[in-house]
């Protein structure tokens, strides 16, 4: 498989897995408005994922006219080792603090990445980025409000945010370590993620400060997801997402 296809699948898997995680809140949000908010974010991410998968399928089918790849086969029929999402998005949803904090940390990264992808030499990636950026702005606004509200809230909500930050932090470093396919395409088709850590840290520390939370110090960073090595949470999410399609391959919605 070539680097170009791997990269499109990486973008697709990242948005799909986070969409699936957030959708677990559907019907379980703390209040109705927030249930709707998190599921709307989930829907935005799912729409972005569909655009990337459709693009990946057309790359596959153009290279091999007999391939018959489509968005469903790519989302539902690939195995764990083939998924190229960073570890951050697959972590269990946890409590509301963990969900909103993870969304915030991811959305700030995604915003920086998409801004660079506007200049991707793959014009379809650039078009998807242009569309997605408008959505990401809302995700950052919403999730940063929650990080601040809970961090600078009651002793209980503050301690939940501290716990969430400690749980999630070691999975953020991997966002900025390019996978081999990213390295090969950086500056042409792909964004150079190694350049995003500095602006990301700036935005994140400003919000954490307002939330009376301290930026964790240097620590060991997990970084394997984009190359297909995942945490134990990944198998479960794929099992739930893919079981219907795999047991009833001709089912339609």
């Amino acid at each position: 498989m070539n680097a170009h296809l791997d990269y499109v699948l990486h973008l697709a898997d990242t948005t799909l897995v986070l969409a699936q995680r957030n959708s677990e809140w559907c019907g379980h949000g703390p209040i109705l408005e927030q249930d709707i908010a998190i599921t709307n974010i989930s829907l935005d991410l799912l729409g972005q994922a569909r655009n990337y998968y459709q693009h990946a399928a057309s790359l596959i089918n153009t290279a091999n006219p007999n391939a018959q790849a489509d968005e469903d086969s790519l989302a539902y029929l690939r195995d764990e080792r083939e998924f190229k999402n960073p570890l951050l998005v697959e972590l269990e949803k946890g409590d509301w603090a963990k969900t909103t904090l993870r969304q915030f940390l991811f959305s700030v990264f995604q915003d920086l990445q998409l801004k660079r992808l506007l200049h991707s030499t793959d014009t379809q990636i650039a078009a998807i980025a242009e569309k997605s950026l408008k959505e990401t702005a809302y995700h950052i606004a919403w999730s940063s409000e929650w990080v601040i509200r809970l961090g600078d809230g009651t002793p209980e909500s503050h301690s939940r945010m501290v716990t969430a930050l400690n749980e999630v932090w070691e999975f953020t470093g991997g966002l900025f370590v390019p996978a081999p396919y990213e390295l090969q395409l950086a500056g042409t088709i792909a964004a150079d993620v190694s350049q995003l850590e500095k602006p990301w840290t700036e935005t994140v520390s400003n919000v954490l400060e307002e939330a009376t939370l301290s930026l964790p110090g240097k620590t060991f960073m997990q970084q394997s997801g984009k190359t297909g090595i995942h945490t134990e949470a990944m198998g479960y999410i794929l099992a739930e997402m893919q079981s219907l399609k795999r047991s009833l391959p001709t089912a339609t919605w």
């Binding site: 408005e33 927030q34 709707i36 908010a37 709307n40 974010i41 829907l43 935005d44 991410l45 799912l46 729409g47 972005q48 569909r50 655009n51 014009t123 379809q124 650039a126 078009a127 998807i128 242009e130 569309k131 997605s132 408008k134 959505e135 809302y138 606004a141 919403w142």
Partner: protein
């Protein structure tokens, strides 16, 4: 088969409603970007409002059904992502229809949002995310009614 001019096709498209806000046609919404008659079959170019908008598939089906009804069974629908859809493409007539329907129409950042019922500018945002991806939930502080605001996008 009868052949259609672009104008005639636009007039048919005017009767296709947005499934989520049925007072708006897809032309009011501004998502139909072009009708091309140069190829073998007519091509209708559509730009989706939001990436994950579940109405997109329904709208494409509705376009096909409506075209069939008017005797044009073979059309091609092309999805164009760039330039990205913006609420600036919504027609003035569409904005008026929205307000009459009880949804505050999109306003640029420097213009105030007003209550679609009593027109009061004293409103508060309850949630950035409303009943569909394109709306936020607001409440009027004067008449106390909650209302949807079509987000500026």
């Amino acid at each position: 088969m009868k052949s259609f001019t672009a104008d005639e096709i636009f007039r048919i498209l005017e009767t296709v409603a947005d499934p989520e806000i049925p007072v708006l046609s897809i032309l009011d919404l501004g998502i139909v970007r072009a009708v091309n008659l140069n190829g073998e079959i007519p091509e209708i170019v559509v730009t989706p409002t939001y990436s994950g908008c579940p109405a997109t598939d329904a709208i494409n089906t509705d376009i096909r059904l409506k075209m069939m009804e008017y005797g044009l069974p073979k059309i091609k629908i092309t999805t164009r992502l760039s330039p990205a859809w913006t609420t600036d493409w919504m027609s003035q007539a569409g904005k008026k229809k929205l307000e009459d329907y009880g949804i505050a129409p999109p306003k640029p950042a420097n213009r105030e949002i007003t209550c679609p019922r009593c027109k009061s500018p004293h409103v508060t945002c309850i949630s950035h995310f409303g009943s569909t991806a394109c709306k936020s939930l607001y409440q009027c502080l004067d008449c106390k009614e909650p209302f949807d605001y079509f987000k500026c996008h």
